[in-house]
């Protein structure tokens, strides 16, 4: 009887710790709400209001933080559905633009910096900064590794309508496919225009693009 009880206790403890491992505590624990207030109160009073809106979080951002970017599948799937619904296309419906323009955008990492110390000058070009995280054309060696290599993207996958649409959608809103991915949602935030996205799609897909040469 005593042994049975001990076994049962051991089993309960083991199950509880297995569950505890499954769902780590949200960052900040019981101080999360206080931390949000502390964070918001930490910014300079002379930041213009339209800068401060950059601290606002949509549901995707909030949920991703809560789960340390690793949400349970059911919650992740719901976020993906929401994000899919945000995707907008160019008026003419053409998703393949000019790969040369895309190549330029892929290399540009400037734009969008605010603040008083080293802001970007007004009108500074905003790029996709793809090379920060991805390998693309073989000739560019200074590529990052946060994202997968996209070298030979089109050569490997072909340029069927489905693949072209996938590439466009992924750049427009990366969270439509993988909730809480590290990749920014370039179209959703109007960081890139739909037309600019078509140029990057061409850089990835066009057989003549350096991504698919060499």
């Amino acid at each position: 009887m005593k042994l049975k009880f001990a076994l049962l206790t051991a089993l309960t403890v083991a199950t509880a710790s297995a569950f505890a491992e499954k769902a780590p505590e949200p960052p900040g624990g019981k101080h999360a709400q206080a931390a949000e207030q502390l964070f918001r109160a930490s910014f300079r009073a002379d930041n213009p209001k339209y800068w401060m809106t950059r601290l606002d979080q949509d549901e995707t951002m909030k949920t991703c933080g809560l789960y340390r970017d690793n949400p349970p599948r059911k919650i992740g799937a719901a976020l993906e559905k929401q994000n899919r619904a945000t995707i907008r296309y160019p008026v003419d419906g053409k998703l393949m633009g000019d790969w040369r323009e895309g190549e330029k955008l892929a290399a540009v990492g400037t734009g969008g910096h605010i603040g008083f110390i080293q802001p970007d000058p007004p009108g500074r070009t905003r790029g996709g900064n793809c090379y920060a995280c991805h390998e693309l054309a073989k000739k560019e060696l200074a590529y990052g590794t946060i994202g997968p290599s996209l070298h030979h993207f089109g050569k490997i996958r072909g340029n069927s309508d489905e693949i072209v649409k996938y590439a466009y959608d992924k750049i427009y809103n990366s969270n439509a496919f993988t909730a809480c991915t590290n990749m920014p949602r370039f179209g959703l935030h109007s960081w890139l225009t739909p037309e600019q996205i078509t140029h990057i799609v061409a850089f990835l897909m066009d057989p003549a693009s350096p991504v698919n040469q060499d």
Binding site: G28, G29, H31, L38, S42, D69, I117, I146
Partner: protein, 273 residues
Amino acid sequence: MRQTLWIKTLAAAALTAGLTSLPAHAQDSRVNDELAKYREALADGNPADLLEVRGEGLWREKRGPKQASLEACDLGLGPGKLEGAYAQLPRYFKDTGKVMDVESRLVHCMVSLQGFKADEVTRHWYSKPGTESDIEALVTFIGAKSNGLKIHAPASHPEEARMAKMGEYIFYRRSGPQDFSCAICHGQEGKRIRLQELGNLTTPAGAGEAMKTWPSYRVSQGAVWTMQRRLIDCMRQARWPEPNYLSDAVIALETFLQKTASGTVMETPGIKR
């Protein structure tokens, strides 16, 4: 002159990597090796050493309306006790009732001991070409007094523990037009942005590797950066608005990172790209 040598070393590194046609992963490690060599070349004669000397002078000199030195400043281990103090910050201070980092405590001392006004001493909290920063010099001096000692910031005081948790919250908080958080770049092992290696700041090894070298001389900026400067610039890179110097958000992040980094031996001033 030295700068020219560094640039040559970097160019050589890029060239070596460029001429070699290897599988991607081999090429990655090749590039990393060359970068490590570049850093080694930089470490031979760190320009920040000069700043350390200036910082020591500022520490001992009688200054401010009260004509006092900073030698009675308590950085957590008692008045004037500098050895190992940096490695144990941020910490809770009874006299202010706050968790403070090295910079907020230093400013506190400059105000309370020397009689300066806070906005006066923080006006040049970071240097610009032609404008020196006393704070940078003092932090470089204080940081070096922890060299060879282990980072020890266990956040055992309830206020420190609370601050560390709040730092953790901020570390994972995503916002802005690029959906960034600290974790995006600093939550995984062995990644790079362009050629810059990124530390995984969620592990003791990764956080230790990062925290042990600050303050650090940044070659691209031609200046020493303090941890406040480092983190405020991370927020700029995240495309967020600008936090206040010495703000609680930055101190919370520092508390979280120092706690994770505890056990790593300090090696300042560091030298970075």
